[in-house]
Symmetry: D2
């Protein structure tokens, strides 16, 4: 696995930040830390461990701050904390490195294509003051790729030598394309990604910013669903949460709540009817306890619903499993002649367009500070991530090579969900 | 207008609460307070004002607390503050009047019909301690009327002499039916209503509990919609809020926000297309400002959508104007070849199943304290309301005789919405 | 009582807002609405009622919007909602009346005195966008009076014809002084006050903005005190809340909480020791229930503590009754040999520097809209208030003639507190 | 370093939870993960790494659930999440292992001493339902040690074979004493600690529950201090936060805020006056920016204040550095003739008696689930911790051997604080 970070060249400029404790150039974090047997670890470590580069300020940097023009762009869907990241990028560049020109490109990668006519804004400590109290992104966003050559042309015209790309999978691929085209052209631009995905599904990255806020807001919906379920005879609360390919939001929300009885996620197939399947289990729960709460991730049970093309980012438009389940459950209990009352809650964008909570704000601050350190050091084609609670540099190519998912068989989070909900590990039809 | 409150009989028992300042038996509140001209008021008041009975503790009460068994029942949809009301009813009956037997009937009026088999719970200060921190109702609820005779039979069997009915329009009609049947039978039971409606649409009642909490939670959805709208080029945030017949939630949310550009309510008809109609105005706004926020009350624009029967409470199942508008708007901008991105948010039950905010908690406390004073005084067939900020008694018959709506022509709330949003007073098609 | 509002002159300019439903020039609100006997009201009303002028948009206005320069100044301590008021003043002046020059004077009345050198800021819809999400005041504030002549000189130099003064008692007196000096000079400037006091103690004004937010935040401290009290054996939670002369915050917080056992306010004297006094009652409560919660308003029990001069606003620096009680209680239980553990919480500024809650935001919007209507109509020497839930104009002279306090003998709020806490009406030493 | 966990005996009972994926008996986590040079890691690892035992469900357990009586006790100060832990302990014991007798001992270790007469409560899923929505501990707490022999006597009398001790340093020492006395007596009781400290200062434990909630609440105070500081000319906001020996709360709050200009912590000495010392730097900041925000941890600058004995837990009663600084700063600016206005905020218990936030709730769930797994497996004398984001078992003896502090020289958190605030690394008087 190639975890090596590319660099624009030799670092010769003394770091002006005088922070005292600079990171050594070869500082690393071990990827593996859990071992099934203590004998597997030791002076005669059997296997070369995977090592990730640590993030941090280096004693010598590549760029002379006086000549740096930095650019910031935000792409894809909203996520709590984007404004925190923008703000700290600006503060850190301005106050710690003395960078005096920072451009905010508007409307995502569209803003890097001159013909769209979205002129960049100059960002200063004053203009970003207090923006962290608002959700969303002051730079606005857009979906979909743009031509890397056109973007590089405009970046060159604007004199940008460090570009910070805040976005998800597609954005990171776009950043990689810019980086590769720049290499081809010999254009010395540091491209630094800051991964943003509400679903927390970036490979080699322990967690992404905004996730804590997102599942915390999701909890409110589940608490309401529980209240509604208990507020009537045989009440059922059904909540649909974000999570296109991974159940991290659904699982964490369920664990925080303790009130969910069923959690359905993309990583775990389930059947509706038949022995041991979802609907009979739901009936059993309802008869026993007179109320039930179900969390379904939007990407779960897609075998049951029709997808409808793709959006501008190239993401499949998922079928609406929430509404599907709502209808199916109502129909099933009618058929079974069990009185039941279902309340459906879809908090949708409410969980992602709120401001970051304090945990996420701290996290965003670290990401942005380390992104600036990396950019000033001339690192490129990389993103700032975290592993084993240590901030790291990860090659974008590696991070976009696959998607992080929750493996229900071995994942401790999922195991805790099973323990918490009491749902069986499998809800497949055993009768067939 | 008959504002006279019925009474079970002579009040002869000294009030044990020793609160010092008892209300005089004939204390009243004037209904009208605003006059277009100061000459209309004065010693030679031209018109007999409408007077409502003030709520409060009386020096003599009807029931001997030692022999009182009180019942509490909660009906209809959830609303923030029900648990606050239940808690204070119990505390006040127990600590101030020394009532020792309080039964909580479960699952709404079903719990008053013996054959359902929902046994009532004994409520004590301990059992209701801390319930105010949770949304919903610890007694659970149900929709739909039950036979007044059967309910009275069971109330008699349980020995109830004061019944507190917490619920909306339908519940109050049910309470009235119980009261009338009791009168017919000569059964001495005080029936006290505490109006509960998230829509704030009870006639002769200035505001209902939970409303402040509900629109406050609604504001979060509108703030998110605004963030989403600004987060993309030509972004539109569309929020559907509760309000079947009245736009109070939508209007207050819009005023609290200041970010809404269009508010659509049941009381004000609008057209979609044509000169001066909604969609062309929306386009105009979008072209000028690149983003727009729309709030639509669930009962607005029903001429455009199909209703589908009635629910157990007899309420018409409204057509989904939110989803309808979402499709219409997307279609319209496609037709007009204006790029636009719409985000639809329906917070649904999230606004009503949360705990009461502090304002509502204070309000619930007053309602419950006054309900207990009224019940102990032998008043009946009445509800506790508020007018001109004074707590009042209102005959249920009067309160249910019509529904309070927002008159767009004269209502100051609506006028403020027009000023705040900048939307024209009328969005009717002027071209036809 | 003189409730008449002064006016700069004849209103001849048509109101450009086209809001449709203009207020009639003589519209009034009756002050009294409660009567101990229904016979006291009627066509032969015995007494001329007090009438307050209604607030609202008039069909003709005094100022031609093209030549209006408006000024805004915020004085005294912070209060939730100041930024809401500033924002709506600017929005309403700009969008509804087309006023193009709005100056924000900085640092309170200091900003109106040229020699301080605090230059005013130009306020525009863009510069006030989103400020309502932040507590405090974007204009900053200061305490203490300034010379009215100097202030008028600078206002004239800046060309201001409408001045909005947001502040408390002292600020309103300052506004009155400016108004009177202007009259003397024949300077045509409309001086409009918007009363701001966290203590809710302005005479003839039902409630002031920020109060709902302030007591809601206070509730958090009381809930924590309750949790701490129950978290240990014989735990006592003692919370000091704002309220220099009036117990409105303390009383409302107690009612919202339901967990307070003692509420001490400035309006009600109490003794510490002796029969029926506070400390023996506290001991009795503790022995019975093993925990107790006390709320003390900062202005309560001042006979026990030493005041230390006055602040810049001329307010007496109160003695710290909270710390005094803390020591006294600890000492008393030591003396009585009752183990007890006291936790003291003083949320101080936390309750006032937060953003307005949605209820206060709506309220601020109305105040600001009506303030603009009044100013454009050439009204002056007045403030915008509320009575019987109707927005009103009140002469500043009348409003500052005395302070609104809570009369414990008759006040319904206080009666509800007595019922809720179970504390006796009087805690005076009966043994002496 | 001895990281070995003691065990009561052989595990022979099949785990009834059927969770599928049991942990292997020797599963470990490496303690070290960061290396200054990649050459230090590899197949020929130079140094034997420290290994911690992983937490998790084992295939065979020690106790037969049918005969298990579990005890739960909570000691020391409150912390967000205690009720979450209690609830999940009960749920997990009841539903997953089928344990039918769970006793909650009241008032901390006092409840384990019979002579105090605090009878334990039987805990059931019903009795702990919804307790996570309230702060504090339903079992109440107390400070101070009790005799291990007396506690073991009563535990034996109550038939307890697994004891869960939720508490901080002192509690863990008490748990160790119980464990050691039990070993001496040959009493087969599993003693499992769940570390609770608002200060996050337990050795070998990455984070403790409630910390996220506590610093999140602290942020509110800092935001208010910032608002107050900006609300007046040369405003200074001073906030005192918890943190007796460590600056974790102060540091995290500062990072989440981004508005703090000075952070003073116990681990970093500072001088008040002289070149490069705190007060001159504060003056410099104020003159440059007209406002400043200071966070001081309660244990900082203790050289300046007098301590006053110890509390029941044996903790030194710290001098009040917050009030000291407040006076000093006011005095200094008076002396320097710089007008300045200081607002002091001490949120005190407000940050610790609130309910856990969703992140902490998830964390508490894991801790409690793993504590139950460990107890049922017969592990003892250990606590459940976390390291490198993996839940671990740590011998109590090791965890209490020293205190975790923030080393300002090398700590990345502190480095980020320095970058964020702009304060110099050292504020020692350089003139002397």
């Amino acid at each position: 696995m190639n975890t090596k970070i590319e660099s624009l060249g030799k670092r010769t400029i003394p770091n002006p930040t005088k922070s005292g404790d600079y990171l050594s150039e070869n500082a690393v974090v071990t990827f593996e830390t859990m071992f099934a047997d203590s004998k597997m670890v030791g002076p005669h470590f059997q296997k070369q461990p995977t090592l990730l580069e640590q993030a941090g300020a280096l004693e010598k940097i590549y760029f002379d701050p006086r000549w740096v023009s930095a650019g910031i762009v935000t792409c894809g869907g909203l996520c709590p904390g984007i404004n925190d990241v923008i703000r700290v990028l600006v503060m850190e560049l301005h106050y710690h490195y003395g960078v005096r020109r920072i451009l905010g490109f508007r409307y995502g990668y569209q803003g890097l294509v001159k013909s769209y006519g979205h002129h960049p804004h100059e960002l200063t400590p004053d203009s970003v003051d207090d923006i962290q109290h608002m959700g969303g992104t002051i730079l606005s966003s857009s979906r979909g790729p743009q031509d890397p050559g056109e973007m590089l042309d405009y970046l060159q015209e604007c004199g940008i030598n460090i570009l910070f790309c805040i976005g998800g999978d597609g954005t990171l691929r776009g950043a990689l394309a810019i980086h590769e085209e720049a290499k081809r052209r010999g254009q010395k631009i540091a491209v630094i990604g800051i991964p943003k995905t509400i679903d927390n599904d970036i490979y080699m990255v322990q967690k992404t910013f905004g996730f804590s806020t997102a599942f915390s807001k999701s909890l409110e919906a589940v608490t309401c669903a529980h209240t509604e379920a208990k507020g009537t005879y045989n009440g059922i609360g059904l909540v649909k949460l974000m999570g296109r390919h991974s159940g991290f939001i659904a699982a964490n929300t369920a664990l925080a709540s303790g009130d969910a009885n069923f959690v359905l996620i993309p990583e775990q197939d389930f059947d509706l009817e038949g022995e041991g399947a979802f609907l009979p289990l739901l009936k059993q729960r309802l008869l026993a306890r007179k109320h039930a709460v179900i969390i379904v991730a939007e990407g779960a049970g897609q075998k049951y619903v029709t997808t409808t093309g793709t959006d501008a980012s190239g993401n499949t438009r998922l079928g609406n499993i929430g509404l599907f389940l709502k209808e199916k459950i109502i129909e099933y209990f009618k058929k079974e002649k069990v009185p039941a009352s279902l309340k459906y809650i879809d908090p949708s964008y409410i969980i992602r367009s709120v401001p970051a909570n304090p945990d996420d704000s701290v996290f965003c601050r670290f990401l942005a500070q380390y992104a600036v350190h990396a950019g000033m050091a001339g690192k490129t084609g990389m993103l700032v991530g975290m592993w084993n609670n240590i901030f790291t540099h990860v090659p974008i190519e590696l991070a976009t090579s696959q998607r992080k998912v929750l493996n229900p068989e071995t994942n401790k989070l999922w195991q805790a969900v099973i323990e918490s909900t009491g749902q069986p590990f499998s809800m497949k039809d055993r009768s067939s």
